[in-house]
């Protein structure tokens, strides 16, 4: 555990424990704890609209975290993440409806089932790399979507499947305010799990596969195992996120798990920073707030010449889609390391203020 409150100028880590510590200083640990405590009061401070945004950030943040494991840490490409997210949502609803399993257990179970499906589609990953893999995941996206439309026993077909509200020890949670804490708990647990994963041998093996898979293989890392494992892990978190999503909306329809949602997931981790855990959350927040802020902007501009020229009211959906694409391109060209990198730079600037160069 780190004892000091400030990082010395330069890299002076002398022990292995200091190198793998989660929080470099006690201050950063205390700040994190304070932040979590503060956000616990959020339901009593903010209004319902902002609360629903926070819940969305949490849910999508968990799924995006899974994608970051496979793309950011292992360097594989997955374009079918939304389908796994959807699979988790349907599985969780199905388990609780069909077998009467309490929702509390359904969500992690959905994660496990989705992970199994992810492993099946991850099998090509054992042999393929780069482009071929990207295209295989694209096929997975379409095949799973087709499955959702086909399997009426599982998804309800064209009629949306209903999902039970979240309940714990016989006490049913109702409303956003109570559900917020469920999502918060899941976010904390998932992010801690992944932070820890990266510190273990398995986590470092994933990073080694990303950095140079041939060297990794020569050093005794089983490429097949870790590539497939990363897909399984990604699908697990997608499933957990999907389960939370199902029991938040209380209804799961076929809509919203298409390729466009997959692109949004990819955008989240690219904007947040590939291979950055806290960056994932920042990127998710960015991508959730982007369409909303465009909505606010269009309301603010109503009636102005810009509005008349662009026809904002009717075209806001297309403009939103375009904004997502443009943002991805802008980040890739100008800030490939994402918001996490920018945040580190801001911190470094203020740490040395006024003597930064």
């Amino acid at each position: 555990m780190a004892g000091q409150t400030l990082i010395p100028a330069g890299d002076f880590r002398t022990s292995y424990a200091a190198d793998t510590t989660v929080f470099p200083t006690t201050n950063s640990r205390n700040a994190m704890i304070a932040g979590i405590v503060l956000i616990c009061f959020a339901p009593y401070v903010v209004n319902a609209y902002i609360l629903s945004l926070l819940i969305q950030i949490g849910i999508f943040g968990i799924a995006a975290l899974g994608l970051n494991i496979v793309v950011g840490f292992t360097g594989q490409i997955s374009i079918g993440h939304a389908a796994f997210f959807g699979f988790g949502a349907f599985t969780s609803a199905y388990l609780s409806n069909r077998f009467g399993i309490p929702v509390f257990f359904c969500i992690p179970l959905a994660g496990v089932v989705t992970a199994a499906v992810g492993l099946i589609f991850g099998l090509p990953a054992a042999r393929l790399k780069g482009l071929y893999l990207a295209i295989a995941t694209l096929a997975a996206q379409y095949i799973l979507l087709d499955f959702f439309a086909r399997a009426e026993w599982f998804t309800g077909g064209s009629v949306p499947a209903s999902a039970e509200p979240f309940s714990i020890f016989g006490y049913t949670l109702r409303g956003d305010k109570q559900y917020f804490y469920v999502v918060l708990a899941y976010v904390i647990v998932c992010y801690l799990l992944v932070t820890n994963l990266i510190r273990t041998r398995d986590g470092r093996a994933l990073v080694a596969v990303r950095d140079h898979y041939l060297s990794a293989e020569i050093m005794g890392i089983n490429l097949t195992k870790y590539r497939t494992l990363s897909f399984g892990l990604a699908a697990f978190f997608a499933g957990v996120g999907g389960g939370l999503y199902a029991h938040y909306n209380l209804v799961v329809s076929n809509e919203g798990f298409g390729i466009d949602r997959s692109i949004i997931f990819l955008a989240m981790i690219i904007i947040g920073g590939l291979g950055s855990i806290m960056g994932t959350l920042m990127g998710t927040a960015f991508m959730v707030l982007l369409p909303e802020s465009m909505e606010w902007l269009s309301v603010a501009l109503r009636g102005s010449p810009i509005d008349q020229f662009l026809g904002l009211k009717n075209n806001i959906a297309f403009l939103r889609e375009m904004a997502i694409g443009v943002i991805i391109i802008v980040f890739l060209v100008f800030e490939p390391d994402g918001l996490a990198h920018r945040w580190r730079q801001i911190k470094a600037y203020w740490k040395l203020y006024p003597f930064s160069h």
């Binding site: 793309v71 360097g75 490409i77 374009i79 099998l123 090509p124 042999r127 393929l128 780069g130 482009l131 071929y132 990207a134 295209i135 295989a136 694209l138 096929a139 997975a140 379409y142 095949i143 087709d146 439309a149 086909r150 041939l214 020569i218 466009d260 692109i263 990819l266 955008a267 690219i270 590939l274 075209n315 297309f318 403009l319 889609e321 375009m322 997502i324 694409g325 443009v326 991805i328 391109i329 890739l332 060209v333 490939p336």
Partner: protein
């Protein structure tokens, strides 16, 4: 067994398949020359079709004039994409390049929806006669035109690569960029040219599809169908892409036939290529004609 339907579907598959082949060919062209997987190929199709439609309906330009204008526009458009967006990405990791093309496809498809709406727009009639009788089979004129145009494009492409000086430069660049550069080939202009040609060829395919089915945002689905075709043939084989396209086109229609006659699962038509794709990747990851990567350390 419904022979009439089967033959009709096989003809259909052949026509659609050659179109897939043309699009897959232009996809492979970009991949081979610049190592970029272009997820926006379908949108290039769409843009070409909309531009031509716009010229023909809004400005009443005759087809023989509108088509060349469209092609010139798409040629310049391809160069512009390469210079503005893809050139800064040279040397970036593969995921970044893929993401840029995915983002491009999002931007283009949204832009097209914004500018032209989401409804299907019929294309102005180009041929006087609707059907031609060949061996007792009623074949639509547009189908024949589509087939003829596709084959012409393929022959043109083959000529370009085998016999023209620029095609040679492009093949050299695909083989080894550094060596090509040191031999005095401008790799930059080869990259731009690859995008320009690919955009132009896609636009031709887009206009052909538009003439047959009308223009709508759904046209970009051709860009997705390209993947099974290109993977089947091998990502870096132009001839393989053409063959893969034809096979996928036939496969779709055979799946449709089996579905409507025997299985009645519904919608097998759309999903069959993706199952085929997964199976191909499992059995033969580098496709029928693709070069297998051999890595030495």
């Amino acid at each position: 067994m419904n022979t009439q339907l089967l033959i009709q579907l096989l003809v259909n598959g052949l026509v659609v398949g050659t179109l897939y082949g043309v699009v897959a060919m232009s996809f492979v062209l970009i991949y081979k020359a610049t190592q970029v997987v272009n997820f926006a190929q379908g949108e290039l199709l769409l843009i070409g079709a909309w531009v031509c439609w716009w010229l023909l309906t809004k400005y009443q330009v005759p087809f023989y004039l509108g088509m060349p204008i469209t092609l010139v526009f798409m040629f310049l458009f391809g160069i512009a994409i390469q210079i503005v967006i893809l050139r800064p990405m040279i040397g970036e990791p593969i995921i970044s390049v893929i993401m840029v093309t995915i983002a491009l496809s999002t931007v283009f498809s949204a832009l097209m929806k914004w500018m032209f709406g989401v409804n299907l727009q019929p294309f102005p009639r180009i041929f006087q006669t609707q059907n031609v009788n060949i061996l007792g089979l009623q074949v639509q004129t547009v189908y024949l035109m589509s087939l003829a145009v596709s084959v012409a494009m393929m022959i043109g492409m083959a000529w370009f690569f085998r016999l023209s000086k620029y095609g040679l430069a492009m093949r050299a660049t695909a083989f080894n960029q550094q060596v090509a550069q040191s031999l005095g080939i401008s790799v930059k202009s080869v990259f731009a040219m690859a995008w320009a040609i690919s955009a132009t060829v896609s636009a031709v395919a887009g206009v052909v599809v538009a003439v047959v089915n009308g223009v709508s945002a759904g046209l970009s689905a051709y860009g997705v169908k390209v993947f099974p075709a290109a993977i089947l043939g091998g990502l870096d084989s132009v001839a393989g892409a053409v063959l893969g396209g034809i096979i996928i086109g036939l496969l779709e229609n055979i799946a449709h036939f089996l579905d409507s006659e025997y299985l009645h699962w519904g919608n097998l038509y759309e999903i069959a290529p993706f199952y085929a794709l997964i199976i191909i990747l499992m059995i033969k990851p580098y496709g029928l004609f693709g070069t297998k990567d051999i890595e030495r350390v």
